[in-house]
Symmetry: C2
Subunit: 655 residues, 2 copies
């Protein structure tokens, strides 16, 4: 297959070819954050989290492992010296990707040195035939490509390729060497699996999007062909999942599967690859199949925070409506993967619902992953933490690092590339999907557009969009109308515009824009009390509170008069009152207060079940003010109990 | 420590020495089932399940593995030929134990042949120093005793010892050889860990109760000493649990731990050993510590079915009040282990609450494990199964066998020994704890007592107890007063007796009994509607129905007019009506019908969360009769959705 004619080079992790059947085009680095919550986090990511990650990767042995491979260490010595799980290489590559996007915005010697170091080690370790894996070249040398369902060999290759694309598109010093290593590995995979006789498929998707992007970057059709082969090969038992093909998304083809099951991160990375394939080959049926699964996930398998993956066991999606707040797994990497998928669907369709889910996930399920100081991370993101929480499989508080450290560097690469997910363009104009202070530049057919966005979002709903440069002629400025904003005021140069979204969910203003034109958007941040669909058993009788894009929670530390979080109830119809606080864990916040009831009831003794007419101790109720804070900011103080979902006070009392 | 003077030999799995500080003495094989539900299951166990298990153990490679060890196969050949997990030996031993109790009641050549075969293979495989483990003598030869936290070496030894005790006490042909092998292994463990320098502790408790029982059987004090060392050694980081000592119950000592955490089966087997040690050494403080943990488990970590272990992940106990019906793990082996523990506490204290929990667990969480035909088994016993259930980590229906087959042979040994848990004696008389048709013989100080129990329990609450033989003089007949029976009628030879339980929870009649005396007990089987304690979030707004010792559930197959189980609600205050059915999965049942409402509500589209005032599709309600069947009998028809807990119809409707 001949490569596409590349008319423009676009930076950013997802850059469809000009031939791709997408409705929106990413701006690459056309959007720069200049202020607000995300710029603050991006700065923290660069100054604290990434340097911390670089040290941790040294401490955890990720570099040393690659060194072992370069030194040709095998056998007992390798077994003694290799550290961590078999996919340790991938964490290095994710950090390189994060550094790519960072240095693309602003060069930094210390960050570039990390890229040079990884590139040099990888180059030295890479076999002559292009194969590269620090585990399977040392400890697992005899098992190369024999246990693909859990080997992560192609998974690591995928992260290497994505890292290489980042440092290449960003022009990071040393990026050329990383790209050369990545291409040799990609060519090796094509030779082994694409044109060779090996029909194997990696049990952990990731290579698919990577190969698609490498195709987009290089025009080399064999990468697309191999990605297609790996994607279309699912559902034929080729992953070797044994009795559990669904864990590996090998139970059904990507065209017929109707719901996401099995390991959540795997399922979601796979879907991102499915959309890439669909748009690069103009396969509308395949796109529709992925959209149907997205709709099913949103309708029945997504937490209020956007978190997905209900089960700790096997890190998996659960049954439809199995959405426990306490035992939700909601892995940070799954939130990231969900954003990857939704972003590709947004490009393909132009519909705001994908940006809505990205927003919900970014501000809640994803944002909660990192402490306010940028030094600790959640792997698991439940919506409830009880008293006397058992550490076990959920530490309950953020940790500095993990033995399986997939999440922290994944967070770093998403934060560093956040600007890529803010806006797009098409032939008619530009679209703003997420509200964050920044500058936008996009090339339209008629010339260059520059727009400035000023906002204190999500703390304020006021968003000012000022046109700074405009080509001649009419073009459209499209602003996402968040599904949660009930009353939105829009003015253009002070003149009200009707609050009506188009079929895609955007407020569209078309005119001959001139520099200095201002669109003012006032989103409705009135706090909202929400209830779950009745089939979500785990949330029966409960409500949660949201404000703008933020999901709120109660933390024990904020409650007064000894009111235990586990005994708080909200008064039906009570309206939460917002109060801005200047400094909350290093940044601002808006806390909410709402009328509640503290209900205490003595345990009846013995089993916690009683007949409905049995005489048990009476419940004692007293009114209390309930304070809520944004979910993403929890565990920045003492990490005691937390709840997103609270029972209503007038629910039928239990014995 | 000198061995106790054995005055009497008592059969059965738990036989405290005469010196033990227990308030009740087991009857060993003094209770024989003659009819009813348990006799039926015991017959099915003998005629179907055990023979099936014997075949499965052959098919799965358990015998072949022991053969490999006997043949001295190691290295690559062993790796290629060894089958299943490393604790495969234990399943053979559990089957031998089951056969022991069976052949003790009634000899059978085919069953005895299995014992002979295992004994011969084990004898041949056993090393000269007494060590025996088919995995660590073959595949894992170099790792013997180096990975005790997950090796199961002492765990397998424990099951071997318990099997040896069963075939010894039952007089099974070939039992002497099994006992000799077991004692050599026990002596080896004493030499290695007891008097040797190795402070190691097996990560999976089981050896503790086994050594205690071997001490009881042989009087050899070194077995008690080693058991004590292994029990008291917990909580000092000696299990090697790394960052998760709580998984292995190594986070705290057996004297200080205040709640059960970590792997449920491990925690419960450990507790059984703790009680054995406490009563054999007269250690009341240790007994009190175990009782406090039992009370905590019952109050906050036990499902309505008696099932324990809320988490699939790590097969573990969860937080207090973390009791999800859908994702409850409630492993069958945990139900068995819970019964083992409660039985020992019942012997130690004489209190009916332990018999109450045994009953609840036996008739629900445990009984559900096996299909009506005795051929399929549950490993996981949740209280809810949804539509479109994902197999994943919970097959949703009973399976014929499991790759990790700990449960089926464990079921077999408990069913075959069921009679041991029915009644006890002490100096004052006999105590009946469980109601089942059978004959009881016990030796009192004054002579031999024989009693006959006739009942159709649990289908009927009428229990007739007839004295068949009585020594001269006054003695007490104590009948457990189930906590659930609100109005109990008792007559002695037709004369009403007051329904008053003693401090231990028993109806006690003391008189000079004569052959032919009849006590008639009529327990109140009026169906009961029960509610959960308010802190159990996962059950908010729901009720469940019980009748006698049985927990009920709705199965989709019984519902009419297309009423989906997931949309059923019960009418508050409605009284379930019982109806006996003659044949339900090979035996009788009593079904219940109660007024319900079928509530359907269209999914609002998009995320399943809506503001409380948002316009969503109205709920449609219609009255429907709801049919319930005993939980333990579910999945004997089509295995479609099932629920124990149902919302009340007048709960606040969700959007």
């Amino acid at each position: 297959m001949p490569g596409p004619a590349r008319s423009t080079r676009v930076s950013g992790p997802v850059a469809p070819t000009p031939e791709a059947t997408v409705r929106r085009r990413p701006l690459g680095d056309g959007f720069r954050l200049t202020g607000g919550m995300w710029r603050r986090w991006q700065d923290l990511n660069r100054s604290v989290s990434i340097p911390l990650g670089m040290r941790r990767l040294d401490d955890a042995g990720n570099f040393a492992n690659l060194g072992l491979a370069g030194d040709g260490v095998t056998g007992a010595e390798a077994a003694a010296r290799y550290q961590g799980p078999r996919f340790m290489d991938s964490d290095l590559y994710k950090a390189v990707e994060a550094i790519g996007w960072e240095t693309g915005r602003e060069p930094a010697d210390d960050l570039a040195a990390f890229v040079e170091r990884v590139g040099a080690l990888a180059e030295r370790a890479q076999r002559d035939d292009g194969y590269l894996n620090s585990y399977y070249q040392t400890v697992g040398r005899e098992r190369q490509y024999t246990e693909l369902n859990h080997s992560h060999e192609m998974y690591c290759a995928g992260h290497l390729i994505q890292a290489a694309i980042a440092v290449t598109r960003a022009g990071t010093p040393g990026g050329d060497r990383v790209l050369a290593v990545a291409r040799r590995f990609a060519d090796h995979l094509v030779a082994e699996f694409g044109t060779g006789d090996n029909p194997g498929i990696d049990g952990h998707p990731e290579i698919e999007t990577a190969l698609m992007e490498l195709y987009r970057e290089t025009g080399e059709g064999s990468y697309l062909d191999l990605a297609r082969q790996l994607l279309e090969g699912r559902g034929h038992g080729r992953v070797g999942g044994g009795r559990n093909p669904s864990y590996f998304q090998d139970h059904e083809t990507i065209r017929k599967a109707d719901t996401l099951i099995g390991h959540a991160v795997r399922a979601l990375y796979l879907e991102a690859g499915v959309v890439d394939l669909a748009v690069e080959t103009g396969d509308d049926d395949l796109l529709a199949a992925s959209i149907a699964r997205w709709e099913d996930m949103v309708a029945a398998k997504t937490a209020l925070t956007g978190g997905v993956g209900s089960r700790h066991s096997r890190e998996a999606f659960g049954d439809r409506y199995e959405l426990p707040p306490d035992r939700a797994y909601n892995e940070t990497c799954a939130a990231i993967a969900s954003i990857h998928w939704s972003w590709r669907l947004l490009l393909a369709t132009g519909q705001s619902r994908y940006a809505d889910l990205i927003e919900r996930t970014l501000y809640n399920g994803f944002a909660a992953s990192t402490s306010a100081d940028g030094e600790r991370f959640f792997y698991v993101n439940p919506l409830q933490r009880r008293f006397d929480h058992l550490e076990g499989d959920d530490p309950g508080r953020r940790h500095e690092w993990y033995s399986c450290a997939c999440c922290p560097p994944n967070i770093m690469r998403l934060v560093s590339s956040f600007g890529h997910y803010v806006a797009t363009s098409d032939d008619t104009g530009v679209q703003i999907h997420q509200y964050a202070g920044g500058t936008l530049r996009a090339g339209l057919g008629s010339g260059e557009v520059a727009v400035e966005v000023e906002t204190d979002y999500p703390w304020s709903g006021a968003v000012g969009v000022t046109v700074r440069e405009a080509p001649g002629g009419s073009w459209r400025l499209a602003l996402r109308r968040p599904a949660w904003s009930r009353h939105t005021n829009v003015t253009v140069n002070g003149v009200p515009v009707q609050d009506t979204a188009d079929d895609d969910g955007y407020l569209v203003v078309e005119r001959e824009w001139a520099a200095g034109d201002v669109v003012q958007l006032d989103l409705d941040l009135t706090p909202r009390v929400v209830r779950p669909y009745h089939r979500i058993d785990a949330l029966r009788g409960c409500v949660a509170v949201e404000r703008g894009p933020l999901v709120y929670c109660v933390e024990q530390v904020d409650q007064v008069d000894g009111a235990d979080v586990d005994d708080l109830r909200l008064v039906r119809g009570a309206e939460p009152v917002a109060e801005r606080r200047a400094d909350f864990g290093g940044g601002p916040t808006v806390a909410l207060t709402v009328d509640g009831v503290h209900v205490t009831k003595e345990h009846p003794g013995g089993l916690p079940y009683r007949t409905t007419d049995e005489d048990t101790a009476p419940a004692r109720s007293r009114p209390v003010p309930v304070t809520l804070v944004p979910y993403f900011q929890w565990d920045n103080r003492d990490g005691r109990p937390m709840r997103v979902w609270l029972p209503l006070a007038d629910e039928v009392p239990s014995p």
